[in-house]
Amino acid sequence: MAKSVTAAPNDLVPHSPKTRGGATRRRHHGAPPGIAWILPGFVVSVGLIYFCIGYNGFLSLLPWDWRPGRNSPMFDSEALEGLGNYAAALQKDLFWTCLKHTLIFFLVAYVVQCLMGIIFAAILHSKVYLGTLWKVIIFIPVVVAPAIMAPVHRRVFAVDGPINWILQHLGLINVDGMGNRNWTGWLSWLLNHIGLSSVTPNWIQPSTSLWVIIAVQIWGSIGMAFILFFAAMGQIEPEILEAARIDGAGNIRVLWSVIVPNLKPTIVSLAILNAITALKLFDQPYLITAGGPAHSSEFLGTYIYGELFQFHSKPQYGGAATLSIMLLVLAVGCSIIMSAGSRGQSPAKQAKKRARLAKKNLEVAA
């Protein structure tokens, strides 16, 4: 049988440490094989991304309102002021407002994504009719660019948009003579008595605009969570599931005590991805709510942009760079903490441990 051979530069072919002609060769300790292939990408990565991060760091040491002039040097070292911008950022209410929004966004979007992703994945692992079609339908929102969907979402959440139309036809909303939408009597009474009187069917307003952004994010990202969980569930050893069945576990028990523990790496990965998404969020709040009304859906991304181009008569480069570096630190910090939480044991050991735990749970339940 003929074998296909891929041509490659001799130096780049990973040689076996064993022989040619029977003699054992010494391990090569020079440049790693394949370095030539990755060098261009490596140069671009280091040259652009890390340089930009470093330059941002430099700009963050300049005055908050520093702005490059026509003949400004690239490194305006005379303007260096030190770390004062970081202290100033921490004293800004809007910074903490953005962080609060980020945290709420992360927690809600992440929890809902995980729950819905696991449920969809579990259902579609059980040979559902037209399963492939459902998978496509669930995943499609992931591939649609937020910028394209933003006008649609603005319309969906408009006062006279589809959501209110549905609520109106469910009898939850009344339309008065002015065209204003109001909750029907009992719902209005209920919202008043649980402290949500500010929630009206005008969704893009301070009390609900953040939740509009969260809803849009959930809509757009459940597909990704579903795919990840679907793939992770396919990795679970069938023997473990069979053992659980033999021990008498029902569907819910198997899902909760066997499947979910085995999804921990995916759950952690999703947490990291969601944390980064929340921190760098820009598209949806900028395009759907413009960060408002009254900063009610402002995030760090839109805040940084606002400091540069919207909030001031002149761009505030120092301030924007400072906030960018703080965003970087937060992103790296979150990633390290979450990674550390999932580290410690090899995958094989973790699988064995989870199997033992699952068995123990079942025994306790039995």
Binding site: I53, M178, F282, L287, A290, G301, Q310, F311, H312, A331
Partner: protein, 496 residues
Amino acid sequence: MRKITRPLMAALAAGAMALTMAACGGGEDKSDTKDTSGTETTADAGTDAGTDAGADEGSDSTDDGTEDVGSDEGAGGATAGEVTWWGWTPDTPVAEKYIAAFNEVYPDIKITYVNYENADYAPTMQSAFQTGAGPDIFDVSAGGNVGGKQLWGEYAEDLAPYAEAFLGADWKDQFATGYVDQLTYEGAVVALPLGGVAADFFWINKDLFEANGVSTELKTYDELKAACDTFAAAGVQCFTMGTNSTDTFSTELLRTIMSSIQPDMYMKCLHGEESWDNEVTIQALQIVQQMQADGIISQDATSIKQYPESNNNFMSQKAAIVQMGTWYAQYAAEESMLGSMEGAGVSNPTPFTMLPMVAPDFAGLGNVPEYVGEADYGLAINIDSPNKDAAWTFVSWLTATQEGQQKVANAIDLVPALLGVSADWDNLGLVSADIQIPIFQQMFADAAAAPESRNLYISAETGNAQVIAMQQILTGGDPAAIAAQMEADSVDLPVE
């Protein structure tokens, strides 16, 4: 050690990704009556020979742009070349008309116009100037954070020597009062005014008013409320307004109402002579709240933008009143109105008659809000442009010749900057010329004589503070607390 390094590197990479992507996003929604962000329109008028000549001449004059002024047979610059023009205004169709008319006189100068959305203009210009890729000609306004002279003035050629060589020693006096000074920054005339603009009044759909038996002159708050009740009964939105944006259109209602309470208070606050948390501001905020409670301002005011939604509501005849300025007159011509209506989602549109209406005396104190206005924007020449001569030919023709200014006047988008020029009213194709012409003539005359500036002294910080105030007051905020926050967030600009 290795166990620590690997996740650390992964986290660093993730963080880097987050940082570099933090500001990735698209532009704002488009106004349907405006053109696509970054839309490019080119008048293909240049010939190869002309292009080469223009480029050469431009290069020669790079070091000293004033040397060749008036040396050519054209409007003081080159007669051939290629020039790029970037701006957030005018709309592309209007710019196309300007360029086409210019090319009838200068067929060998190719002008490429790129129109940006307001929100996209500043980021684009910042990047362009930083990388030396700026346009030859660009828009500059008297104030604001879109194209304010304080932003781009240092990148603009001082046009005073050019203008003096072209128009003579009394060149400033040939423009509307104050326009040139408003575009002067740190002693240099950074742009020549194309025209002026005025605001603080309403536009009404006369056809809807008449169909519902509503008077086209609403002089008091009660009359306005009664009109809105009538429109509501007919299923027509009365007054459309959008505050869900950082643009400051919605704040003009606040100013209009403040003017009806105490005419000079707004300017006093702008100049720091009064604080924003005064009784007039608080009362004005209360009136805004009352307007919402009375159904004059619709519920969706916090969730829509002035452009495109409010504009579309008006152009599609869903709403009877909108607060816009003199620039809105351009849609009164049948051709542009049909385009705007189609852009607003109307199929097979029938044009309607739109008219300006003086804002009511909101407070009932006998003060009718007056127009506020200034030079809307001017054309600047990039100080580093290699095509300064050809650029000056275009700038001077459009801003400082009767012929060019006539085109500006006929677009009825701006009050012409050059004195003695007025629109060719009988040939503009207005929907109801006999009704609209005298009213529009009065509007433009009032605009040219506006006693107060519009945006000249409004810093971005103050503008944002007012936008947030409007958003908060329309969602049930406390007027006194909102006014206090306005005072805290506003920044006064120096009075020059």
